[in-house]
Amino acid sequence: MTQAPVQQGRLKSPFYSRLEKLDFVNQWHEWKGYSSTDELYCADTEYFAIRNATAVFDLTPMTKYRVTGPDALDYLNRLVTRDMAKIRPGRVAYAVWCDDSGQVIDDGTIFHLREGEYRLCSQERHYAWLMANTIGFDVTVTHETEDVAALAVQGPTSFSVLDRMGLDGLGELKPFGLMHFDFEGAELMVSRTGFTADLGYELWIEPGKAEALWDALFEAGELHGIRAIGTHALELARIEAGFLAAYEEFLPADETVRTGVSRSPLELGLDWLVDFKKPNFNGRRALAQEKRKGSTWRLVKLDIEGNKVAENSYIFANKRASGGNIGFITSAAWSPVCKQNIALGTVKMPHGKPGDTVWVEIYYQREMHWNRKMAEAVVVDKPFWFPARRGATPPGPF
């Protein structure tokens, strides 16, 4: 029996041939073994495709696992903090999973593809942890990142593009729903999910049909301003949406060395995902105790005065910065669509209640010279960007 040679170097996504054609700046990075593009021509223009037209992002490198078997539901319910029994077939759940100490390992989405058949997606790889979780369960976990090509199709015209492509009935699909379509004899799964807090979908298909899908999509989208985008544009949309990213808002608990540097879901504003009515899940005991005794950290969304981006800034309780810092910024950006100076940060309890004012120490460079500014910031409750069209069913046409 001959074995396929081991892949050397970076993997190329099945969409690579199409991305390559659109690539002007040749700026790529590595994402879990794949070449992934930062930007193809101009991150700003790409960003506006997300908010004003349709943006297409190659999601293939995102980690995907298939979870099947008689105990799939029980397995997932022990793995994640939320109640997966409520997620019916054809629905998708945002979920977070913890270690025994209630510290977040990662967040991701779980697709209930068919009765008892799930796909779990996350930014990071978790095979060892997922396999450890199978002990005592009749369940099969398969790593299928390379077996599924995926695209995010996001933006106000995204529904119209997909409708034009011939996906009949897609208008009925609600947020966090998924449907199966036939695409040239292959199964195309479409979910109404995304990382942009805008109207948008994700398309999932076997790699052999990837290029054909891309071509059909771009043909249908020509009049709707469809554009391929890279991670820079997506990252800006992500911060506007107030979504978390591993290695930014939290470190995967199984990667940390020091104690006290990981975060619990309660410390990341994910209380709503923790269902203490479930009798057992990883981290339940620790989280119940944290709930009783109080958390150490709190995730905050900040609306900051001025236009200087608060990257890597310390957060203080007052302008004089007395009493030491109370936390720091984890992600920051100027939001073009909100016209706001926004940031996500982590502060020590009891600071950072919604409505509180905190101060952010911003360093910025002007013609080589550094300047420091203490900027007032208000803790906001809602995502910075959350348009009505995101939830409209059926979505409006363009």
């Binding site: 397995y75 450890a132 002990i135 005592g136 009798p279 057992n280 990883n282």
Partner: protein, 514 residues
């Protein structure tokens, strides 16, 4: 119909009995459920051939803790006390080892042995103090834990600079390096090596074998005793103490599962389908069986389940029981010597060589043997003029590559008899009946995962603060209402009662605090 108890103890092993008796004396309504017809777990006496009885698993008493004896007013009747270990030599030039002296060796070796035992006893005394306490948690702010930790540090420091350095040097080391540095007599080196590895899946060159040696000494300075009526009489006495304290003991009631409801333990179900309710279930079964089989991994968190899954508990010691129509002849032994403990471990390499095949799933072609003739001192165990031999034989891996079958058992049995025959040539002619218990048989009969005496290898990564695993070292499992009280918990195996007593005390302390 469901009966309700304050506490249910799964398994009437000696630790389960100690734990139940102490809880009952504190006013608890305790039920003990034992799978076998007899109480005692691996500390039982049973007939293996008509009129011939032996201690079926544990056969020598060297660890029963004075605290346990005192609190439960135990006074086991001993058939032999402070037994001498005779290291058999093929040429009849045997060595005799006692707690502080050895004969049959050079003066240098004799002097070294005294120094060696003195130092080891000093270190094991330090350990002994902590056998009878719940091990402190690391990284905690709990005052009593911090105090115990501080005390441990202080006790080590108090050894004095030189001895502390020696302690820290030795504690992770192997027995082979220590005996080769110290002694010249091969037989002496072999005998000490054997003591360090008895009951483990370790060879003398394996790291940790100083710890196992110290653990053996920690019980009673390494003094070995035989119990009149076999080990079962200790269990009977414990069961009596438990019953008279109000404990209900039901034998022949294997627990099929520990019932978990709404995230906590609520009782147990027996194989016959009977259920018993209690908010406290204390398992005398080994940790792996308790969590993986009786509770179910899904009812605990994944990190804990993974640690339990990886708990090492591969038994490697077999038990051989022989019914003899008379004592065998061993060159160089007096008749009275048959009342002592006889060991076959020719030299320090012999023990390691015996271990080598075990690493690859094969039994030793030349095994190490610890033999006793219990009937010599205790005529109740065999008909007049007849005798029984009870031997621990290593190595016989639990997961024999070929699998344990009648054929492989017979082959190993013949190997052991041939080994013994080198010293006792007439042994084969004396045998009227025999029984070999491999670790697989020990698992079947005594329900110990892997057939391991200690319910889990006794090595530094599964010792003290991390026994059986990190996060569960204080008898309380990370599942509300579930406790461990057996050898898998701190401090470990041997008929000591320490785990059972510590568990009971910890439970009562928790209840008081709650």
């Amino acid at each position: 119909m469901t009966d309700k108890y304050d506490a249910i103890v799964v398994g009437a092993g000696h630790n389960g009995l100690v734990c139940s008796a102490l809880l009952a004396r504190a006013g608890k309504n305790v039920l003990v459920l034992e799978a076998n017809a007899q109480v005692g777990g691996a500390a039982v006496t049973r007939e293996f051939a008509e009129g011939h009885s032996v201690s079926a698993c544990a056969h020598l008493l060297y660890q029963l803790q004075p605290e346990v004896r005192k609190e439960l007013q135990l006074s086991p009747k001993l058939a032999g006390e402070d037994m001498t270990t005779i290291a058999l030599a093929e040429d009849g030039q045997h060595l005799r080892l006692s707690a502080d002296a050895v004969t049959g060796v050079s003066d240098d070796d004799a002097a070294q042995y005294r120094r060696f035992r003195k130092r080891m006893t000093r270190f094991s005394d330090l350990l002994r103090k902590y056998l009878n306490k719940a091990p402190p948690r690391l990284g905690t702010k709990n005052l009593s834990d911090l105090f115990t930790l501080g005390q441990l540090g202080f006790d080590i420091r108090r050894l004095g600079k030189e001895e502390m350095q020696e302690f820290l040097r030795l504690i992770g080391m192997n027995i082979h390096d220590e005996v080769t540095e110290r002694f010249e007599s091969p037989l002496l080196k072999g005998a000490i090596s054997l003591d360090a590895v008895l009951g483990t899946h370790l060879g003398p060159r394996s790291p940790n074998t100083i710890v196992t040696y110290l653990y053996r000494l920690a019980g009673d300075h390494g003094r070995v005793a035989a119990v009149r009526g076999g080990m079962g009489s200790v269990s009977e006495e414990l069961a009596h103490a438990a019953r008279s304290s109000g404990v209900t003991i039901r034998t022949g009631m294997p627990v099929k599962r520990i019932i978990v409801g709404n995230g906590r333990v609520t009782g147990v179900e027996t194989a016959s389908g009977e259920t018993f309710s209690s908010y406290m279930v204390i398992s005398n079964a080994d940790p792996k069986r308790t969590i993986m089989d009786l509770v179910g991994a899904r009812h605990v968190e994944a990190g804990f389940a993974r640690r339990m899954h990886h708990l090492r508990s591969r038994g490697n010691a077999a038990k051989l029981h022989l019914a003899l129509d008379g004592l065998p002849t061993i060159d160089g032994l007096d008749k009275k010597d048959f009342g002592q403990r006889l060991v076959i471990a020719g030299d320090e390499h012999y023990v390691e060589r015996a271990f080598n095949p075990a690493k690859y799933g094969e039994y030793s072609p030349e095994p190490v043997v610890e033999m006793t003739f219990p009937s010599f001192r205790d005529e109740s165990l065999a008909p007049t003029g007849k005798h029984v031999m009870s031997a621990v034989v290593q190595y016989a891996p639990y997961s024999l590559r070929e699998g344990w079958s009648d054929a492989t058992k017979k082959a190993f049995n013949d190997t052991v008899i041939a080994t013994i025959a080198k010293y006792a040539p007439d042994i084969a002619q004396r045998i009227t009946a025999s029984e070999l218990l491999t670790p697989a048989d020990i698992e079947d009969e005594f329900h110990i995962t892997g057939g391991h005496w200690h319910h889990g290898e006794l090595t530094l990564d599964q010792f003290l603060f991390v026994r059986p695993v990190h996060g569960a070292a204080q008898y309380k499992m990370p599942l509300d209402g579930l406790w461990l009280c057996g050898a898998g918990a701190h401090p470990g195996g041997g008929v000591s009662g320490a785990a059972g007593r510590n568990a009971a005390r910890t439970i009562l302390k928790w209840e008081k605090a709650a």
